[in-house]
Amino acid sequence: MDDQAPDYDALLAGVRRGDQAAARALVEVLHPLVRKIVRSHLPRRVAEEDLAQEVYLKMFSRLEQYRGEMPLPHWVSRIAVTTCIDHLRFQQRRPELRWADLSETEAEVLDAVLSGSDGEDATDALAAKELVGRLLEQLSPADRTVITLLDLEQKSVAEIRALTGWGTSMIKVRAFRARRKLRKLFEQLERKERP
């Protein structure tokens, strides 16, 4: 773990001068953050590397707009989150989730979740993650982003506010709406689809 924070001011000054090494160093320093956001909000059929590159290019093109009111990683994370949401908007929403579309392990996990029994092995966890991804695809991009940050990454509302720039009430409303929709999906799967 780094015990010294990167000197963002020096790197930014270098980039503004057109220094290639500073620009490369900035990408390297910000990459763990950008890649983490991109990976957890990656739309289907979009390559992680392409999306990360888009985030960096937006960052470089908007650098004059950065006034230093917030730490640079926060500013870049907002660009990353909004870029992911823009891509999710372009992605056509998947048709209604059906029990028959699930893999065998996903169906087992869903059955266990609905019946209240617990499964603790790693296979279940992987299938649960896949299933979570399928369910999230049923939500709007913004709702999906909020619920991913809140429930999967267990971020606080304040952290989500810093990441997205959205207000507290908007985040709470989106989380409420997303959970309501997810509850309906579970009910629908249980009543109509469960074999």
Binding site: V15, A23, R24, H31, V113, A122, Q154, R179
Partner: protein, 98 residues
């Protein structure tokens, strides 16, 4: 007994998946992105250059279109102007009276 929210149970299970592999940069990625980013930052001048050329092209097209559309009307209006000039020319009227 109240049943636990299935979504919360599911995400709790999903969170047990170990974290992804280390966030390594693909080879050459930082260099490529830095070069593209800096090139992009130099582009605004070029952008305005292209924009100015387009505006010039558009202006020329407007001039040519105006000339083509307006040309047939000009002889008529010129004739009208000459007629009115004849009519309103006090010197010509005076010479005619002599």
């Amino acid at each position: 007994m109240k049943r636990q929210d299935p979504w919360l149970k599911l995400v709790a299970a999903a969170r047990r998946v170990p974290a992804d592999e280390p966030m390594e940069l693909p080879p050459g990625f930082a260099t490529r992105v830095a070069a593209l980013g800096l090139a992009q930052r130099r582009e605004p001048a070029d952008f305005f250059g292209v924009f100015a050329l387009r505006a010039l092209g558009l202006a020329l097209a407007v001039v040519v279109t105006s000339a083509v559309v307006g040309f047939p009307l000009s002889p008529v209006s010129a004739a009208d102007n000459n007629a009115s000039d004849d009519f309103d020319d006090p010197v010509a009227e005076l010479v005619a009276q002599l």
